[in-house]
Every structure is written in structure tokens, then in C-alpha cells.
Symmetry: C2
Subunit: 233 residues, 2 copies
């Protein structure tokens, strides 16, 4: 009874984390806009679960700042303020260069192959003009890096920050611009392969500052969407 506190990956219910993951991904891919209502009923029918599960999922999402819960008013996709947006970028620049450092230290051939494939997809999506895919892969690159860093404490933090960044870009980003330049991702990958920790860190820092430069915190914008279509990928 003393040793079983290890291997706790996905110990909790499948259903729960599936709902959370779906919404997380939909946010990262910008298929759900900031401010969108997430009613309990819609989650229940969409995922075929009871209200309890829906509520639990929403609570989990609200803990990571992706969903905003209000008393008697239900759940909405968060709408980061400009102050919050600054804080998110600040946090990313504090954390992710160090994540890149660790990734450069710990990357193994398997990781490398995965990243190479990932970048191929990413550059393809950009070439073809598949904006949706490009956005998703672009965010996932950062998440993959966090996984390669093999730090199970920071990885969820990065995931959360990436999702919140998607919301920020959705609100304050210029509609046309790409979120991440895949060539910068390529440079980071090169540094990782060479185990050049300092370079990886500084490239990541520069990269993040470029992302930050693409948002205009005085802008506002909103658009319609379809919840069913957005979640049922």
C-alpha cells in the first residue's frame, strides 16, 4: 500500500478526460471562439453523458483558465483580458525557453522522428493553405516539446498556456496572420537535434516574442460558430 502511487496516467475516467480533451483541442484549433456558451445540456447530448460528467468537465476546464464559470450563468469559453493576455505571454516566455532547454537535453531518436514528421505536416498545411490544420499543428508543436522535456509537471502548464494563447489570438490576433512560423519551429528542432540547450532556449524566446508581436491588445472581434460542428471532429 506504499508503492502504488506511481503510474497514475489517465487513472481517472475515460469519459471525463475525453470531453476535456475535445474542448481543449477545439479551443487550440480555434473552432470554439472565446465567449461561446457551453451549456450543460449541450455537452450532455453531444457526448452522451449525464449532467454530472458535464459539470465535472467544465470545472476541470475552468481550473485551467480555458473556461469561465459564473454563478447561475453557466460556462463560457474564457475571454482573456488584455492584462491576462500579457500575463500568459510573460508566463510562456518564462517557462518555455526552459522547456526547450530540457527538451534539447533529453530528446531521443524517437522524439526526433516524431518532430520531423510533425514539421513536415506543418509545412504542408502552410503550403496548402489549410489554416485550421496549421493552427492546430502549430500549437501542438509546443506541447510536443513539453512532452519531450519529460517533465510531467511543466507539460500540462504548457498545454494550458497554448490553449489560452489560442483564445488570445482569437480575440486580439489579426485574422490573416499565421500564429507560428514553421521555419522558426524548424530552427528550434535543429537546435534540439544538436542538443544545443542555449540555442534552443534563445530561439524559443525569440519565437514567442514573434507570436506576441502578432497580437494587438487593443483590437476586439467576434464571430458566429456552430457548437456541434466544432466539437465533433
Amino acid at each position: 500500500m506504499d508503492l502504488d502511487q506511481a503510474n497514475n496516467k489517465a487513472d481517472d475516467d475515460i469519459d471525463e478526460s475525453l470531453i476535456v480533451d475535445r474542448i481543449y483541442n477545439a479551443v487550440i484549433e480555434q473552432r470554439i471562439p472565446p465567449g461561446a456558451k457551453l451549456s450543460e445540456a449541450s455537452l450532455c447530448s453531444l457526448f452522451g453523458v449525464g449532467r454530472m460528467r458535464a459539470r465535472r468537465s467544465l470545472l476541470i476546464l475552468s481550473n485551467s483558465g480555458v473556461v469561465q464559470l459564473e454563478n447561475n450563468r453557466g460556462a463560457h469559453i474564457a475571454q482573456p483580458t488584455s492584462e491576462e493576455a500579457l500575463a500568459v505571454f510573460e508566463a510562456r516566455r518564462a517557462i518555455e525557453p526552459n522547456v526547450a532547454r530540457l527538451a534539447a537535453k533529453r530528446i531521443i531518436s524517437e522524439d526526433r522522428e516524431g518532430l520531423i514528421k510533425h514539421l513536415e505536416q506543418e509545412s504542408l498545411a502552410n503550403k496548402v493553405g489549410d489554416r485550421q490544420t496549421a493552427i492546430r499543428l502549430s500549437g501542438q508543436f509546443h506541447i510536443k516539446l513539453a512532452e519531450i522535456s519529460k517533465n510531467m509537471v511543466m507539460a500540462p502548464m504548457v498545454k494550458e498556456l497554448v490553449a489560452r494563447t489560442s483564445l488570445i489570438i482569437g480575440i486580439y490576433g489579426a485574422p490573416g496572420t499565421r500564429n507560428c512560423h514553421d521555419d522558426e519551429h524548424q530552427l528550434i528542432l535543429d537546435a534540439l537535434i544538436n542538443h544545443d540547450e542555449d540555442l534552443a532556449a534563445s530561439l524559443m524566446d525569440k519565437h514567442l516574442s514573434h507570436i506576441e508581436q502578432q497580437v494587438d491588445l487593443s483590437r476586439r472581434g467576434r464571430k458566429g460558430f456552430n457548437l456541434v460542428e466544432a466539437l465533433m471532429n
Copy 2:
């Protein structure tokens, strides 16, 4: 209906976050040991809330890694593995030096006075030998720094990491040693007052490595405790 996404501080229920905070603090002060059972019934009677509130609180705590939920087996205070412990320290060394940097940049006189008072209490507790208080203040120093950094994204992260560190020290720490040297805290405060960002960051890094050196990840230990006494401060 577009502007009301600002001022969301403590919008959620009072009850809920009170329970969470109480348990959080009890963990930081090491009044609840790792592995302790947190049954729904005990929380219900202790805080005079219904089961729903208790369950919600436990879910929130489990999202921050302080509580471990297991199917049909309820909630226990987390027992970080040695791998997890390494990851937590790694995360702290990635994040907190940058937090210290920001704090050095943004500290105002009000913050300074608060920290000075805090350090007086801390050094007093150490002099008098009030271990419990010393532990609490020591952890809270780091949390206060995060608040002074005025980054509302990183502050909760630091709080979570401090709590998890308390659990780690509870499991792997030598019983006699202090968690934090208050003289190191004093040095950091000096750097903050001088707005010396680089110094604050490097002192914080050194400080964290000292904390890390105080744990022996091959050690194990447990002790009895009283839940009522632990939570009813």
C-alpha cells in the same frame, strides 16, 4: 454583453475556495501528511457543506496535483513519487527565478513593507523554534513573491508548486532541517528592493537548489495525524 469579461476575481463561490484554501494551507504547513485520506463525509461535517461542495473541492485540489483521486476509493493527499519530485523542483527552477525577476521589476513600497514584516516574522519563528510557523511562512514567502510579480498566471502555478514541495519534503525531507533559510530570503528581498533583476533571479535559483539538496529521494516516512485539528486553524 461584450464587456463583462473583466474583473473575475473570486467570482466563484466563497465556500468552495475556502475549503480548497484551508486544505492547501494545511498541506503547505505540513499539518496533513501525504497519503492522508480525505473522505467526503469528513469534509462535509468539518466545513458544514453538502457532499456536492466537498466533491467539487476535491476535484479542484486534484487538478493542482495536491490531491489524488482514485475511482471508488476516494481522495487522498498526494504522495509524489521521486520522479514527480524531480519534476516539481525542475519546474520551480524554471519558473521562480523569472518570477523573482518580475518581482524585482515591479515591487512597490507597499509590497516591500509587507515582505519586510514577513521576514521579521519568519526569522522570529526560526529563532523561537516554532517549526510549524516557520514552515508556513517559508512557503508563503515564495507565494508572496509571485503575487508581487503581478502575474496572475504564474502566481497560481507557484502556489501549486510550493504545496507540492511541502508534500515532497514531508516524504523525503530530513525531519530536523528547515525548508528554507530565512537569510536567503533576506538576500532575495535586498535584491528586490534594489530592483536588481539578475541578482534576484540568480539568488532564487541558488535558494531553490538548496531546498532541493535538503531532500533525499530514497527516503520514506509517514506519521499519524488528526484531520480535524489539521484543518481547523
